[in-house]
Point group: D2
Chain length 273, copies 4
C-alpha cells in the first residue's frame, strides 16, 4: 500500500503481524493506542535550580514527562558534553520534586547502571545505527525512545527498532526529528509525512521533536501543532527558563510561558481529532 | 531573525517593507490576512461529465475554488499532456454550472488569451524559474499561484515571486508542494516548516498541496490537517470521482467523500486556531 | 543492470535500441563516440574586448568551442541578466576572429532567430523541464546542450532529451553540473557517477561543467580531471581574464593560464585512457 | 577560502595550524604526503579459502593492504553480521600468507583486544559519530580509517577526526564513500569534490571507496579512476572471487581480474599527475 514490503524483515514491529497498537506505559503516562504524551524540558541539565525550576514549570503546563540531557553527544569534542552522572542525579531530584517521570539520552551500554532512576532511555539520532547499543537496550525492561537519524530513512528507523524488539524489549517509541536536505534556513527539515507512514507500517507509537527539527524557536509552535494534527502520539519540546544563556541549543528552546501556550493549543486540536 | 537577510533583493514581497499581509481576492473568495481558501479538483480535466461532476461534489463539500489541469507538463513526452484548449473550455462550463472560480496551469505566455476565463493562473513547479513566463505574468491583472520547485529553496521561491511582483502584479499566492530528498516512500517530502518561514519572511499568502507532496492518497488527510495547524492560508487537494481510472496521478487523489471528510476536519481545526 | 527499465519511454536515446554512440559535429569539432571536446569561456559576455580576449586565450590553450552567456537566467530579477542580442553580436565577432564555434544559452523560443550564428544552443539547468522550449528545439537543426537541473534525476534528464529527439533533432549533448544536497561548502554537489550511468543508459555524449557544480575555482581543476578519468566526453569550464571583476560567477572562473594548465593535464589523462 | 572557518574547532587536523601533510605508515605502506595506497578485499570474510584466495589475487595486482569485514554492521538484525572473532583469525592467516597488512571494522571498544593483529581499525559510516568509540580509538597507537557517514557533512567528518586526534592518536585516514541524495540509481552519491575540499581544509590523507558509494560494480572502475584524478590519496575497493555468491554486497564487488585492470589504470593516471 505504501510501496514498502512489510515482510519478515519487520516481524516484531510491522502492522500486519501486529495489528494492535503497542501502548508504552511510563508511570501514570501512556503513549500509543490513542494515548498522547507531552515531553518537555531543557536540552541539557545545567544545575539543580535550573532543572527543578523548569520541571515545575512544564508540570504546571501539563507535561507528562521531563526531558533533560546529562550525556550530550556533540559534533565537536571541544563543546560542553553534559554533566553526565551529576546531571542524572539532578534529574532524579527534579523527578522526586514533581513526580514527573524522566527521559534522558544514553550513549553507551557501560553507563546503564547510572540510568537506574531514568524512566525512558533515549537513543540519540547519531546513535540510531549503533547496533551494539541497540542490542543491549533490547535486553532491558524500560521504554526506549529511538530518534531517527537525520540521514536515515523510515525503513532504517524501523530496522533499528527491530534490533531492540527482536531482543525482547517491545517498549519502543519512535521519534521524527528532522532530516538532512538542501533547505537553508532550518537546522533540519521536519519530515512530517513520516508520522502517518510509520503509523501505517508499524504498531509503534510515533512522536515528533519540533525543536531539533527546526532549530528555531519561532517555528516550534506551528510545527508542534502540525505534528499533532498529522497524527503524532506525542511531542518532545525543548523548554528553557533562560534560552539566551542555555549551554546547548538555546535558539530552539521555548520559554515556559511559550510552552504553556502551545500545550493549551495542542489539547484543543487533540479534542477536535 | 531567521538567518536570512531581508533586504533590497525582496523589496516587493518582504515582510519588513510590507508589514501588512497581501490579501488575494478571487471572486467572492479571499486568501491571506486570516482568510483561508480550499482549492479542490482533478489533476487533469478529462471530460465534461468528469469535471462538472467533481466540481459539484467539491462545491457541496465547501471548496472555494475548482482546480483542473488542461495544459499538463509531463516528465515524458509520451504521456498524456492534457486536453489543452478543450480542457479550458470544459473548466468554463464547470465554472458556469457551480459558480466556482477556476485555477489552471499555464505553461507558456503564448497561451495567455486562452486563459481569459481562468481566475487564477498556476505556475507549475517545473516552471518556477522560467523567468520569461514569470515576467509575462507580472504584467497581467490576475492572481498567480506560484508553486515551489522540488529542488528549489525558500529564497529562490521568494525571488521568483519577486519577478512577478516587480513587474506590477502583486497578487501572488505561494504554494509548498514537497521537495526532493532521500526519502523512499513518498513522491516528494512535504517541507511544512516552509509555511511559517515564508509567512515570517514575506507578506504573501502560502498554501499547501499535500497531494503532490506525498503522492499517496492515504497521507493526504493527515498532511492537509497538519498544514492547516501549521498556519497555511489554504489547501490545494486533488479530488477525482474514479481515482483508479484517472489519466494522471490517480494514486494521490481523494474521492469526493474523502475530501468532504477532510474539509470538515479542516474547518474544526481552523476554529481552534 | 542499473535498476532502470530502458523501455519505450526512452525510444530515441536509449542504448538498447540505439547501440551506436551518437556523434555530434560542431564545425570541425566532434563529441561522442570517443571524440572529446573542450568548451571554455566566460559566464557572461561583457564587452568585445573581454570576449575576444578570452576567446583568443582559450583557443591558444586548445579549446574546441567558445562559451559565453548573452541571455542569463538569474535567481533575482535585480541581477545582471546579460547583454542579450548585443551579447550574441559580440560572440559572433569572437567567432569570426578565432574560428571557434560558439555555445550560448537560449531562454525562449521567441529568441530563436537571434541565435542564427550560434553553433550550439544551451538549455540551462532551470529550463531542463521547460517542455515548450524543448519541443521547439526539437524542430531545429542544431546541436542542443541540455544541462541537468540541480533537483532533477538522471531519468528526468533522459526524458527531457527525449522531448527534443522525439521531435526530430537527435543532436543532443547531456551536461552534468551538480545537484542539490545538504553539503555546505560547494554551490552544488557534482554527481560524477551520473556520467558512466548516462553513457550506459543512452547513446548520447555526456559532458561535465565543474565550474557550476562546485562554484569554487580551486575545485575546478581536480573535478575537471576527475570527470575525464570518469569517462566524460567533454568539459565546459568557465574562464575569465579578470575573475574578481566578472559580472557573474567570478569565484568559480579560472584565469586563462589556469585553464591552459588544466587542459594540458586533461590531454595527458585522455592519452592514458 | 572555502567558506569554512578553520579555527580552534579544528586545532589538531586543520591545514593552517598543521601545514605539513600527515603521513600514515602501515607496515611498509604509506599514505598521505604524496604516497598513494590501494586497499582491496571482500566486504565480509567468509572462509579461510575465500580470504586467502582473494588476498593472493589482490596482492598480485599490487594492492598495499587487505580489507575484510569480520564485525559487520547491518541495517537489519536478521542479516549476516560477520564471522566476528573467527573472521579476524582468518584475516590473520591471510596476512601471514601474503604479508599484506589488514584493515577491518571495529564496532565497539569492548572488542579492542580481538583486533591486536589488525593493522588499521576502520570506523564505519554508521559509527562516524559514535563518540564513545572515537574517544577510545584516540587512546590507542594504530591508524584509524574513518568513513564519512552518508548523512554527514565534511565539517562533521573533520570534527569526528578531531575527537580521535585530540585524545592523542594522530594517525587518521579519512574516507569518502557516498552521501544520501535523491538520486535513484546508485546506493549513494559519490561526493568527489569532498576530496580536494578535505585536503585543502586539513592535513589528513583522504581515500575514496567507490564500491559503497555506487553499489554497482560497473560504476566502480570509472569512479576509482575519477577519484585518483581528483587527488585522492588512496582507494578502497571491494573484490570478491565469486560476487554472485557473496554473503554481503556482491553487486558492488569486482572480480580479481577486473580489480587488476583498474589497478593498472590507476598507476598510469598517477604517473601523469
Amino acid at each position: 500500500m505504501y510501496g514498502i514490503e512489510i515482510d519478515e524483515q519487520y516481524r516484531c514491529c510491522n502492522r500486519i503481524h501486529n495489528p494492535e497498537d503497542i501502548i508504552v506505559k511510563i508511570g501514570s503516562a501512556e503513549i500509543g493506542g490513542g494515548h498522547f504524551c507531552m515531553i518537555a524540558g531543557p536540552c541539557s541539565v545545567e544545575s539543580e535550580e535550573q532543572i527543578v525550576g523548569i520541571a515545575n514549570e512544564v508540570k504546571k503546563a501539563g507535561a507528562d514527562l521531563l526531558r533533560g540531557g546529562a550525556f550530550k553527544p556533540r559534533t565537536s569534542p571541544y563543546d560542553f558534553a553534559g554533566l553526565k552522572a551529576e546531571g542524572l542525579r539532578l534529574l532524579s531530584i527534579a523527578k522526586k520534586e514533581t513526580g514527573l517521570p524522566i527521559v534522558s539520552e544514553i550513549m553507551s551500554p557501560r553507563d546503564l547502571e547510572l540510568f537506574e532512576d531514568v524512566d525512558v532511555l533515549q537513543v540519540g539520532a547519531r546513535n540510531m545505527q549503533n547496533f551494539e547499543l541497540l542490542n543491549e537496550l533490547g535486553m532491558i525492561h524500560k521504554p526506549i525512545l529511538l530518534k531517527r537519524g537525520p540521514g536515515n530513512t523510515v525503513n532504517e528507523l524501523l530496522m533499528s527498532a527491530e534490533y531492540i524488539m527482536s531482543k525482547g524489549n517491545r517498549q519502543v517509541i519512535l521519534c521524527e526529528r528532522g532530516i538532512r536536505t538542501f533547505c537553508e534556513h532550518t537546522r533540519n527539515t521536519l519530515d512530517l509525512s513520516a508520522v502517518p507512514l510509520l503509523k501505517g507500517l508499524s504498531c509503534l507509537p510515533v512522536i515528533v521533536d519540533p525543536s531539533h527539527a527546526t532549530g528555531i524557536s519561532r517555528l516550534v509552535p506551528p510545527m508542534a501543532l502540525a505534528a499533532v494534527a498529522g497524527g503524532a502520539d506525542g511531542l518532545m519540546i525543548e523548554v528553557h527558563n533562560d534560552p539566551e544563556k542555555a549551554l546547548c541549543d538555546g535558539p530552539q528552546a521555548l520559554r515556559p510561558e511559550e510552552y504553556a501556550a502551545v500545550a493549551e493549543k495542542v489539547r484543543q486540536i487533540r479534542a477536535v481529532l
